[in-house]
Amino acid sequence: MNALWQTLRTGLLTRSLDKLFRLPAWAPGWPLLQPQGLSPQVRQALQALCPSGAFQEEPGEFRLDLAHCVLCGRCRRAFPQAIEEMRSLEVAVTRRSDLIQRVDLEKGAFVEATPPLPTRSELHLPTLAFREVSAGNTGQDDSEIALAGNPFHDMARFGFSVVASPRHADALLVTGPVSQNMREALLRTYQATPEPKGVVAVGNEAIDGEVFKGSPQVVGGVDRLLPVDVYVPGSPARPPAILHGLLLLSGRVRQRLVGGRLQEAGPQSARVAR
């Protein structure tokens, strides 16, 4: 009786996608370069200040790699004229290059990116089963995948499930920089997955190793080993961003980050059952 009463009182927890994709007010957004604010001094200061080396300068070009941003918010606090904020969780992309903002220093403008690639149509299915492989992850990207299944996010309502065996899976969710000791196990799990199969790299570590990049004990990114269909940035990747990645893989939403910048939401995303 108590349990029934409690259940009624708890009510419905599941949140609509629109709500989920909104970043809470107190969480820092993704940094967005402001080409006109990037004087040589500011560029140098940004590179010195960022703890995870997300800023890079090449001759004639300044870059911000979102897959190396740990979202500490320090760059924007120090240089509001050079860094704006992108407040969205629809950040999954199909190309690694769509996580990198590139500013042409001569023109003082962003390098235009080509239109994003669509995901493969053979994976545009009403339900998708995933096998998760943690490969050197801290455990927190794994935890966020598990939380994407909780009543608040409820990935099951979109037909997504996590299955015990790769034999039953349509795609792999891989976290971590791929430790050398997990390399073989990851490859074998991939081989055991029937075609057609997809791969989602979940979290910065899985995309380019993040803080582990350069360690001889890690491969430094899932795409060094397997063809990656969707990249979900974040440190760790947040559950709504993971949902966005899975919806992108199943062809139900549009990619919004192009060349590291947010495009307007298109009419396509309205098609998802909310």
Binding site: T10, A27, L147, V211, S215
Partner: protein, 445 residues
């Protein structure tokens, strides 16, 4: 040597480190604080692992990293290096069940080798190292900001690791952290503990098919994570702590709202846990399952809730002036139920401390005054994380880490699983494993 053996027999080993040509055993003093017992060694050293299994993995790690041979080690084999051959314990005439490294759930990788007679587990060996990322080596030569990012990714508990590294640096430099920052650090540490413990409990309820309790506990856990994010800007409390202070500073409004929210969450989850842990189904599935005796716990050198559930009244918060008066939560059964009870009671305890910390939050700055770092310094620190003691030792050259040695509580507690599953049924393994809920990454580094 005598002092070392005495400390080991009382389960007071904290860490083992080697800096040529000296082995350094960090042990807890009988009264309070740490001491370092040293032993010269160039190519070999006497192994004590046969009598004191707490040293087993420490000695193996040392052998693997420095080539120093522990003479008389009962089962010398690699720990994190998968290039070398790994002989499993020879068990003849029994059926072997290999599990992992890729498991069925959403969990980190590790390998378990069961030797079973029918359904009964007679022997189990844990083989880890799959998560090894070379973290300690990676820390060498890094600036403090980079070292902190690595610390936050060392094990499952970002706050405790960042705090331990920050405190080690502060100890080395003699930095006095302002009172407000001290209390705020403990607020996030307790939030992390509750978040972790509720995760272990929800997992246990899921494993026995008690979906109602799992969902209710999971709901509170998700809302609590929201509060941690509200305070620090991060869902796991990363980017929140630095040497000398904290990166967040709640205003009065946030502090009040946090206090109210935590009050409600604490009451809600407390009621659920109290009812759930008395449920006949829970008692039936958890009692007498996966026991670790107090004597075993001392020999293995267990820490944290795993030790306290086996009757060892040890919690580093006993020595922290901000927590006084403090009495550790202790149970004697050492089984899955005892560990669940410790988690549940510690959740209640942490909510009570949170209430006190937030009500008495001092005002003032959240950063220590900046001073130029000395050219070279050394320091260590210990933090009671959700899973037990996190230990950091660092040598700094200016503001760079010249060398770091860290021990995650999971490194000490994994062996307990091997003991706990003996004689149990194979299907109970997931439940027993979940009752310890250890970090693979923290162990493998």
């Amino acid at each position: 040597m005598d002092a070392l053996i005495e400390a080991l027999s009382q389960g007071r080993l904290v860490a083992l480190d080697y800096q040529a040509p000296t082995l350094r055993y960090f042990v807890e003093r009988a009264e309070k604080g740490l001491e370092v017992l040293e032993l010269e060694a160039t190519t070999t050293f006497p192994s004590l692992a046969r009598d004191f299994p707490a040293l087993d993995w420490f000695e193996r790690a040392l052998w693997e990293a420095h080539g120093l041979h522990p003479e008389g080690h009962p089962a010398l084999k690699p720990l994190r290096d998968h290039q070398k051959p790994y002989p499993f314990d020879p068990i003849e005439g029994l059926h072997e069940v290999p599990v992992g490294p890729v498991h069925a759930g959403i969990i980190e990788p590790g390998h378990f080798r069961f030797s079973v007679l029918g359904e009964q587990i007679l022997h189990m060996e844990v083989r880890l190292g799959y998560q090894h990322r070379g973290l300690e080596a990676q820390m060498q030569g890094q600036g403090l900001a980079q070292a902190l990012l690595l610390a936050e990714r060392a094990g499952g508990e970002s706050v405790a690791h960042a705090l331990a590294l920050a405190q080690a640096v502060e100890a080395a430099w003699g930095v006095a952290v302002p009172p407000r920052a001290q209390v705020l650090r403990r607020v996030v540490l307790e939030l992390e503990r509750i978040f972790g413990h509720l995760g272990h409990l929800a997992g246990l309820f899921t494993d026995i098919g008690y979906a109602y309790a799992a969902t209710q506990v999971g709901k509170v856990r998700a809302l609590l994570q929201g509060q941690l994010e509200r305070l620090t800007g991060h869902r796991y409390g990363r980017n929140a702590i630095g040497p000398g202070g904290v990166y967040f500073d709640p205003d009065r409004g946030t502090q009040d709202e946090l206090q109210d929210a935590l009050h409600d969450l604490g009451r809600e989850v407390g009621a659920h846990l109290q009812a759930a842990l008395k449920h006949p189904m829970v008692l039936d599935r958890m009692r007498y399952v996966g026991p670790v005796s107090e004597a075993q716990a001392r020999l293995l050198g267990l820490v944290g809730p795993a030790a306290r559930a086996s009757g060892i009244a040890r919690d580093l918060r006993q020595e922290d002036p901000l927590y006084q008066p403090f009495s550790p939560v202790v149970r004697s059964g050492g089984d899955v139920l005892a560990r669940a009870q410790v988690y549940s009671e510690e959740v209640r305890q942490s909510f009570a401390y949170l209430e006190r910390f937030l009500a008495e939050l001092p005002s003032g700055p959240v950063w220590a005054k900046e001073a130029a770092p000395p050219p070279a310094a050394e320091g260590y620190s210990r933090v009671e994380a959700g899973r037990g003691e996190v230990f950091y030792w660092v040598r700094l050259e200016g503001a760079r880490v010249a060398r770091a040695r860290l021990v995650d509580p999971s490194f000490k507690n994994w062996r307990a699983l091997e003991i706990a599953v003996r004689g149990m049924g194979l299907p109970d393994f997931p439940l027993i494993n979940k009752s310890f809920d250890l970090s693979y990454a923290g162990c493998d580094l």
